[in-house]
Point group: C2
Chain length 264, copies 2
């Protein structure tokens, strides 16, 4: 692992439930040498990627990230572009919808919306990376994304997130083949024990760039409801991929068979 | 300069007017060895801090920045907190107002608002870092911020941004003394030839963390107008500093002298 990766890895330890981390905790979490961790933290802070609490000396993510995110969003307004589509989908299906973008070998949430129509709702943390093998978003990306990504993920140990996470590469390959047939990835309790989610790929200019998903508490996941969600998910993903500069892949066409036959 | 700083420096080359940069351009802009630059770019891309255009292979800022900015904003909602204050100030004075946070030896814009009441308005690029010696925001931070920061900035060569930028350390020191007396930094044409701006410091728990400013086209910068803006700027900065966890320093008190005497 290079020095830059080691330093940037430290930033990934922050989350909305863990917004401040001290030197001791960094050392413990990474299992690395304290002097090295301190040097990396100092250099990140000097560049505005971290800042220190004036009294506790604990580290927080820094203002440089706000500025760089604004630069990216100004030039490539993914969040702005995806927000209305995700919000409309969530409203349509009455459940939590989210879009995420491929970041290394995981998915980084970009936007989510939940109409909160029910007494029980799925908790979604936009600051948490989504693992590819354990989420419907990830499975959709594995099924339709680059071969190299799939091979890399299948070659590594796959982490358990719940008792239902598929961690056997052969079983995961079988799942991927299934997703390729239906165009929609469906997982029950693989990331959160009580949640069933369905995901479809999002395409940009160069192929799969992320995924669009709807997650529902498993107690509300009746087959007819899931089928209805899948249909709307496909349509929303096609709309999003069009805006993101992607092609319109046949497996995400929202048209019914009759209409499709009329537009070969 | 450390490896991490060298890599992170590459990210600062992006701006909203320059959202894609190729390897050759990175090499030219940095004057560094091409192989080293390429290694840094690859490592940044592997970590989601950059992504490559699928066809041109040019680099863009990556999705990791969106996620990390969201994590920071969720825990320390600077943008959310400053937005209403900046918007109300802009509305009040009828001119462009902006807030920025200290990032290394420059200020990083966080939010700006412009009611656009006039035919001529100040162009503000939120993706551009504000140099401390050439902006009213920076001058306010130099006047009330840490001694070490001021000494570091004064010891270095100061860049010309316009013909009116103060680049002589002695002249800059005189300006700083003046700002300490009035509590408000005022600069005419130092960063943009046709713009006059006034800035005051923003305080967090540990002291000065940034600045709040109002910028007007110099053609509209009559003395009475500037005095009125300065009063409102002080009041808005006090409100912002209170929300940011800072103390209420006497020089940013918005109270008139009579009222101040009544509350010693």
């Amino acid at each position: 692992m290079g020095t830059i990766t080691k330093a940037l890895d430290l930033l990934d330890l922050f989350s909305s439930t863990h917004p401040e981390i001290g030197l001791g905790e960094f050392t413990r979490l990474t299992g690395r040498d304290k002097a090295t961790v301190h040097r990396h933290l100092t250099e990140l802070a000097e560049n505005g990627f971290l800042e220190q609490h004036p009294l506790t000396r604990a580290y927080r993510l820094g203002p440089a990230l706000l500025r760089l995110a604004a630069v990216r969003e100004a030039a490539f307004p993914m969040r702005k572009l995806l927000h209305p589509i995700v919000a409309a989908l969530a409203e349509d299906v009455g459940e939590l919808a989210h879009a995420s973008l491929l970041q290394g070998d995981a998915l980084s949430p970009v936007v989510h919306a939940d109409p909160k129509l029910h007494g029980v709702s799925v908790h979604f943390d936009e600051s948490e990376l989504l693992p590819l093998h354990a989420t419907s978003s990830g499975l959709a990306v594995l099924a339709f994304g680059p071969d190299a990504l799939r091979e890399r993920v299948l070659a590594r140990p796959l982490a358990h997130h719940t008792g239902q996470t598929v961690t056997d590469p052969t079983a995961l390959k079988t799942l991927i083949v299934e997703v390729r047939k239906t165009g929609v990835a469906r997982l029950e309790g693989a990331f959160d024990a009580e949640v069933t989610s369905q995901g479809v790929p999002l395409y940009g200019e160069g192929g799969v760039i992320g995924a669009l998903s709807v997650a529902v508490p498993s107690i509300r996941a009746q087959p007819e409801k899931l089928a209805e969600i899948a249909t709307r998910l496909r349509a929303a993903a096609q709309e999003a991929s069009r805006s993101l500069g992607g092609p319109s892949p046949s497996h995400s066409r929202p048209l019914p068979h009759a209409a499709r036959a009329a537009h070969p």
